[in-house]
């Protein structure tokens, strides 16, 4: 299944991560688990950004953590540059880790406050035995690459603002010249006025270095801006995946459509009308997902088949645009259809 051609950096096949629910000191007898990630497959090529979106608790962050093997998977396979790394032990993983790095959401929690910026950015080089006489120069170059000054290496994280700290985190992630970055909500913790500059930096780094990005975010406007392709997750599953245009302009899964309709329009002359799509209720618990289609409990199209048969994630209307819905249709096709919910 895994092919190494056309610059594919990452391939994930049927990835599963279940967290067992423990009560007290012993695991519960029923073997119940939070099914955070349940059969997720995707691939990312060199220079490409895959945006991973969904509500909180849908499993998008867990997916990112399992890919870099910060969290052990329950099932499925992870291929990096065609190598199946799923069964690798820590020693075997070490060279693979040079190829993929992660940037965390909170730049206040992800930098050691007692270490200088130079130490933090140089740490990956130290760990991999690559920090030699040229180390300080290398660190200075990395800091300049992310828009900081070379002599910022002497300073400590608390001397920097949130946006600058996130740049330090990005410099650290770049130290080993990776091919893939997992960006887990990289600007969500930042002030609005500095998000744009960090986003611009990430785009420039991608162009200059040919990096592949897995961009995890709940903010569809940002995902629209950075992604080549977009995957939409719901309760541990990808429900729709395609190019940015397919997902954001002609979405065919009801959840994607509702998610897009919920984004407030920054134009007061186009306030949401009363007959827009509004999802009712909350997502069900991932420890006890509905039978069949997991979205059916909030879906206005749900029919008997939705409870009985889980819809496969396959190309249904256009090639390359896969959707896991028994009744996919674009918004245009839907306009005259009955069943739209009004609020």
């Amino acid at each position: 299944m895994s092919e190494t051609s056309n610059g594919e950096v990452l391939r994930v096949e049927h990835l599963v991560k279940h967290f067992p629910i423990k009560r007290g000191t012993k695991a519960s007898a029923g073997g119940k688990a939070v099914r955070a990630v349940d059969d997720v497959s995707f691939a990312i090529s060199e220079g490409e950004t895959l945006g991973l979106v969904g509500e909180s608790g849908c499993g998008k962050t867990t997916t990112g953590r399992v890919v870099v093997r910060l969290t052990e998977e329950t099932g499925g396979s992870i291929f990096v540059d065609g190598q199946d790394i799923t069964s690798y032990n820590a020693r075997q993983l070490k060279p693979v880790r040079r190829k993929m790095q992660i940037v965390f959401q909170d730049p206040f929690a992800s930098l050691n406050p007692r270490r200088s910026v130079g130490f933090i950015v140089g740490a990956p080089l130290q760990i991999h035995g690559l920090y030699d006489d040229t180390g300080p120069d290398r660190v200075a170059q990395l800091l300049e690459r992310v828009g900081l000054k070379g002599d910022d290496a002497e300073r400590y994280p608390h001397e920097f603002s949130g946006g600058q700290r996130q740049r330090i985190g990005i410099a650290r992630a770049l130290a080993l010249e990776p091919r893939l970055l997992i960006l887990d909500e990289p600007v969500s913790a930042l002030d609005v006025s500095i998000q744009a500059s960090v986003i611009n930096l990430l785009r420039k780094l991608q162009q200059d270095l040919g990096l592949a990005y897995l961009f995890i975010s709940h903010d569809l406007s940002i995902v629209q801006h950075v992604s080549d392709r977009v995957a939409v997750m719901y309760l541990g599953k990808i429900v729709e995946i395609g190019t940015r245009h397919e997902i954001l302009r002609t979405p065919t899964h009801p959840f994607t459509q509702a998610l897009l309709a919920a984004v407030p329009n920054p134009d007061p002359t186009k306030r949401t009308n009363a007959d827009r799509l509004v999802l009712t209720g909350d997502a069900p618990s991932p420890s006890d997902p509905p039978s069949g289609c997991r979205f059916r409990t909030r879906c206005w199209k749900a029919a008997d088949v939705c409870a009985e048969e889980e819809p496969a994630l396959i190309d249904r209307l256009d090639p390359g645009h896969a959707v896991a819905c028994h009744f996919p249709e674009t918004l245009e096709q839907m306009v005259s259809a009955p069943g739209r919910q009004s609020s």
Binding site: E55, S56, S161, G163, Q164, D191, V192, S193, I194, Q195, A196, S197, I199, N200, R203, H218, L220, S221, I222, Q224, H225, L248, R249, A258, L259, L260, A261, A262, V263, P264, N265, P266, D267, P268, T269, K270, R271, T272, V278, L279, T280, G281, D282, S343
Partner: protein
């Protein structure tokens, strides 16, 4: 500046002012020195409107509202100067008892984080009832309970007869936030304050919340102050907008005016820097630099070090720009606000590529 931002406009329009903050300056004593949180802040809330207070963290957008409710702890806080007028009296001069009578009845608040704002060991119904029983001694417990059920139903909590007996942990985030609305409107307030009420919610749940809040506003007729950093939410909800930066009000205008032609370079920069779902651009127009250090605010205009309009002109670094009226109900604290007009907004950023025709500012 003799008048506050909207008082002149109000006199002309003869709109009723429900709540007015005038020249409020608040400081906090901290280990690192004195922090001036807001300086000379003035705004007015008109009857029946939704006033959006926009700003980033540290801009002081919540401070004036906390002062309204008497929730600034002194010390370390210190109200240096200012007045807060509600119902003919200055709330800053009000006694503790007077404030207690107003809080939760006349002026009610919906906080950002429903998880920490609800008492985890008291049922949701009891918390809503308590809000009513405190202010209405004649109300029986049963009547309060019945009214709590009706309130939960009105904010769209399913099976409220059962939910009223549940504890906050049995509610999801969106449901807790609805319960917070129910509690806030329990006493039919005249003023509803929502402080970043949707920041911790998913967009899907946020959309539900905004619908419920709109319904609650219609039902109670309450004037609303909506504090947020999210321009999209402001565009959805607000009638008028107050933009704050570095502890000062930098711009005030009607919502359509401010989105169509902002008259402060910070507002303009903020609107241009945010990616939009309908608009595809190669590069975002980022505001250069960092938000100001509140301990060490720049001289003159607080936005001047990041400003592309000022271009280092000496007036910007030497003279604090006062909020001045530009036109009907438009106020800007920029020395060179006129240079932003007309159509500065329409200037396409480099590489701007409009894919759909749904770009902001366009009218069909």
């Amino acid at each position: 500046m003799a008048t506050s931002p909207t008082s002149a406009g109000v006199a002309e329009m003869a709109e009723e002012v429900v709540l007015a903050v005038k020249n409020l300056t608040v400081e906090f004593e901290t280990e690192d020195g004195v922090l001036r949180a807001v300086e000379q802040v003035s705004w007015e809330l008109l009857q029946g409107e939704t006033l959006g207070l926009v700003g980033e963290s540290g801009s002081g957008k919540s401070v004036s509202v906390l002062a309204v409710l008497g929730l600034i702890k002194q010390p370390p806080g210190r109200i240096v100067s200012g007045e807060i007028w509600y119902d003919g009296s200055d709330l800053l001069a009000a006694t503790h008892g007077d404030l207690r009578a107003i809080r939760g009845t006349d002026i009610a608040m919906i906080f950002q984080d429903p998880t920490t704002s609800l008492n985890p060991v008291v049922t949701v119904g009891s918390q809503i009832s308590e809000a009513m029983l405190i202010h209405d001694k004649g109300l029986s417990k049963k009547d309060a309970r019945d009214r709590a059920i009706a309130l939960l139903a009105s904010v769209g909590v399913p099976s409220p007869e059962d939910r009223v007996h549940q504890y906050p942990h049995e509610f999801s985030g969106g449901m807790k936030q609805r319960a917070m609305i129910a509690m806030a409107i329990a006493n039919k307030p005249r003023v509803l304050i929502a402080d970043e009420p949707t920041t911790s919610l998913d967009v899907t749940i946020q959309a539900q919340f905004l619908d419920v809040l709109r319904a609650a506003q219609r039902e109670t007729g309450a004037s609303t102050i909506f504090i947020t950093h999210d321009l999209g939410v402001i565009a959805e909800m607000a009638d008028r907008v107050v933009v704050m930066y570095g502890g000062r009000v930098v711009e005030t205008a009607d919502v359509e005016t401010i989105f169509k032609s902002p008259s402060h370079p910070y507002t303009l920069g903020l609107m241009n820097s945010v990616p939009k779902l309908e608009l595809e651009v190669h590069e975002l127009a980022a505001i250069p630099g960092q938000p100001p250090d509140p301990f060490n605010l720049p001289p003159g205009c607080t936005f001047q070090p990041r400003c592309e309009l000022g271009q280092g002109r000496s007036r910007c670094t030497e003279e604090v720009p006062e909020l001045r009226e530009l036109g009907s109900r438009r106020w800007s604290a920029c020395h060179f606000a006129e240079e932003l007009e007309p159509g500065f907004m329409a200037r396409p950023a480099e590489g701007l590529e409009i894919i759909t025709d749904a770009s902001p500012g366009e009218t069909p």
